[in-house]
């Protein structure tokens, strides 16, 4: 036996032993006879890792850990997509046992009003409100518009002359509609223009005239003193009941006689029917976490006001927010050309063209024959089909939780490798070691090093 193979056997056996013992320890935790919580609580963040919601929940995770309000850790799961509705639906359909909860902001209300989904806050049990973000209306620094009233009056004098950035279906969109209501006859051209950075560059470039931004976006985007006004932005109103301490010079909308308030709050939700004592223990754990000095410091850095509400005050607040949005809910339809139809038609046209093309031009088909010929010679289609079926079986096994990930992955690697080894000889022992290493290794790398929740 050659030396490098010996080294491989030694190293892989040791690694497998270490990983396997780690894995057995992992598998044998959690005793369901104990009081709630007796296993980790999964928190669904309906946005991608690294975004605002995700950052907030990760701060709270540290707070919860430091405050020891819960006996079990929380596991953060990012399920981004569909303006937060992929993740919210996941929690809505989860068993109401308090082990899968959601952290989501006002978009949970507007997603229903905009018709994206057919459920709103009523489909959940609210646990608590933790932290609110102030929102500001801003224009380019060299704009003639001095304040919010002037902006709306300009939209009244010449309807549709102001291009206003607010994403369709998002809370800011509804606030823009509320703003219009305050000055009769005012009509804004509301443009859905993506994330904060996108909206900012469109305002700086003069392609949009004004927009709603979060306070932290405004403070981040604002240029340093001395930035030429055509490359800078200026806030004209805060959509809060009071002025904000970080920008005391900016008036609130209400001061100008425009009673529009938009504060993006982070709410925690549990599936409908979750027992009351579970909700209370979660709420009190969150309340203690909110008081941790580290959490307060981080929230201040994000410009989030550390408000907290639960129980009756929370319900009242939700009700009033929902009513405010509902009042303007008959949203304007956006009339756009039917792009899907156009693309579909072009696709069909091209399909016909390519058929015609390969039929008529004899030269081309010659090339085709030559090429496909070389593929036909080496025919192990059975192997490929078998591998694909095995892969489907593997995914089903994981999805239905027939067997743990580490074992399933080991089986997949070993079975597939064995099937292939009939054509290309290789050592079964090495293959087995490799299979076990892959199985346990994947579980270890993803859960321990990268903290990603794997299928269970």
């Amino acid at each position: 036996m050659n030396r490098s193979l010996l080294v491989w056997h030694a190293v892989s056996c040791i690694l497998i032993l270490i990983l396997a013992s780690w894995w057995f320890q992992q598998e044998n935790v959690g005793d369901s006879s104990l009081a709630y919580p007796n296993r980790p609580i999964r928190v669904i963040v309906p946005y991608a890792a690294g975004g605002g919601s995700d950052t907030f929940v990760r701060i709270m995770e540290q707070g919860l850990q430091a405050a020891k309000g819960l006996t079990e850790p929380i596991v953060i799961i990012n399920q981004a997509g569909g303006i937060g509705t992929i993740g919210s639906r996941e929690v809505k359909n989860a068993p109401p046992d308090g082990y899968k909860i959601l952290c989501h902001h006002n978009a949970i209300i507007t997603a229903k009003l905009a018709g994206t989904v057919d459920y709103g806050p009523e489909a959940f049990e609210p646990i608590a409100l933790t932290g609110e973000m102030s929102m500001v209306v801003l224009v380019r620094a060299d704009s003639r518009i001095e304040n919010l009233r002037q902006l709306l009056e300009a939209a009244q004098a010449k309807p549709k002359s102001i291009r206003f950035a607010a994403n369709k279906g998002a809370p800011a969109y509804f606030s823009a509609l509320q703003l219009e209501r305050c000055v009769p006859g005012a009509e804004l051209t509301i443009v859905s223009s993506g994330g904060g950075a996108d909206r900012y560059s469109k305002i700086i470039g003069g392609h949009l005239d004004a927009g709603i931004f979060s306070l932290s976006e405004y403070l981040d985007f604002r240029g340093v003193t001395g930035t030429p006004p055509e490359r800078d932005i200026r806030a004209i109103a805060v959509l809060s009941p009071q002025r904000h301490e970080s920008i005391p010079e900016i008036p609130t909308a209400s001061e100008l006689g425009i009673p529009v308030v938009l504060r993006n709050a982070n709410y925690w939700w549990a599936p409908k029917g979750t027992p009351r004592e579970v909700l209370t223990s979660l709420a009190s754990a969150l309340e203690v976490a909110m008081q941790q000095p580290k959490v307060l410091e981080e929230l201040n850095r994000l410009r989030l006001d550390p408000t907290f509400a639960t129980g009756e005050p929370l319900r009242q607040k939700l009700d009033s927010t929902v009513k405010g949005f509902e009042a303007v809910a008959e949203s304007k339809a956006v009339s756009l050309p039917p792009f899907t139809l156009y693309v579909g038609l072009i696709l069909v046209f091209l399909l016909i063209c390519s058929f015609a093309d390969s039929h008529w031009s004899g030269q081309q088909s010659l090339v085709e024959k030559e090429n496909s010929g070389s593929e036909l010679v080496a025919s192990h289609y059975g192997l490929a089909v078998g591998a694909f079926l095995l892969l489907m079986l593997y995914v089903s096994a994981l999805q239905m939780a027939w067997m743990p990930l580490a074992l399933a992955a080991s089986c997949l690697v070993f079975a597939l490798g064995s099937a292939m080894s009939r054509h290309t000889p290789c050592s079964k022992i090495v293959l087995l070691e490799l299979a076990l290493l892959t199985g346990f290794g994947i579980q270890f790398v993803f859960t321990e090093l990268f903290a990603i929740a794997l299928p269970t």
Binding site: I190, L350, A378, L391, V395, T438, P455
Partner: protein
Amino acid sequence: MTALQEAIGVLSSPAGMGLVLLGTFLGITVGAVPGLTGTMLIALVLPLTYGADPLLSMALLISIYVGAVSGGMITATLLRMPGTPASIITTLDGYPMARKGQPERALGLGVMASTVGGGISWLFLVLLTGPIAVLSSHFGFFEYFSLVTMALVLIASVGGDSLIRALFSGFLGIFLAMPGINAATGAARLTFGFTEMNDGFQLLPVLIGLFAVNQILRDLVRIEEKGEPVEIGKKTLWLGPSELMRHGVNLVRSSIIGTWIGMLPGIGANIGSVTAYTAAKGFSKNPERFGTGCEEGVVASEAANNATIGGSLIPLIAMGLPGSVVEAVLLGALVIHGLQPGPRLFVESPTMVYTIMGAMLFANFAMALMMLGSMRWLARIAMIPKPYLLPVILSFCVIGSYALSNRFFDVWVMLGFGVLGLALERVRVPLAPFIIGFVLGPIAEKNLSLGLQASDGSLLPLITRPLSLVFLSLSIALLFAPFYGKRVKGWFESKSVPEANE
């Protein structure tokens, strides 16, 4: 501390250096192993970086990119099997050179050319990105739409042997990117009532399916196919400065061509090396020697394919437009880490910009040293038996797709697109236009929709705004050029552009 110092700090920290070296090594390895591509590895590594530091993650991904484009030459030269599509052209002269008993010299020239190509394109990257970013802030919705349209036409017109099939592939990509919630209206479409479809098909599972699963299935079909390996001896790969001078003109020309081709949105490294090779042949005094083991051929191909890296990073960083499939993944990586490429990136996160640039330069030199120092060893890794390799990669494909958003839906999407990729390639529809359409289509649609919202439904700004008009006219010219001018068509075909995979 300035952003530049911070970026240097990140890259010179043990973690930063370690990741760049690791990334370059992994890149070279997957580049060298036929059947594995850099795209595949980057798509599989991306889920691992979700929780990690964005700067370090990008440094890792960029180094994999640099390594993968370079590593392909090893098997291209020794096995006559290009490790990546980027090095298809290298086989033409590299393998004959190796057969003639000069494998070390062929590889040495390749390493030298790769390093110089990467270096020259890096200079362009550093010099041009800032000004282009400033310029692009003047782009409104309509300009972006027209620019993206031009990119789509461009990829279709050079992306394969048939314009119609390339266009079909591109439009199929655009169409399959459409299901889900429309950003402009907030309404779900083409979901056929499945709420799982509300987010449409995500780029990552689509990529893993099209490129990794499809490629592995194809490898399984051809499992017994082997090349005739050429062993390399103990001779050094290092070539002195005299060689650098001798190939100087070719190096600079090929690097500039590579950079330029890389900058054009939608075109990858393989087209860069084809174009540079054709140019080198055209300029050569004895073009008949090309294809028989000619040094200039190796140099042109390898200099250009590495130069496309720097070139394609320019539109990515400055405008958020991906220049190739790898760039599309890198764009996704930046967005996942909460960064939107474009003019804002310079203000918001200059450290990220410098880190990307620094990582490219660092990885370029790391690649040169690794290739020079351990070529014999790398050549052995490239011959690892497939039964060890492919099953492990398949299990990573599944978990990588799942980790994107913890949903099995994405895993099934990946499997579905694996089969689709297999079927498309079976009928010789190239996959690169598909991915570019998949990525650029939504950008084009979004900008047009928002432009229409802002202009209150008028399409006129498309032709009244000068820049938009220029881009649109160019697209139309590019689209119809092959039909009108037989000579133009002949020119395209004479290059026998290989199928664009990268």
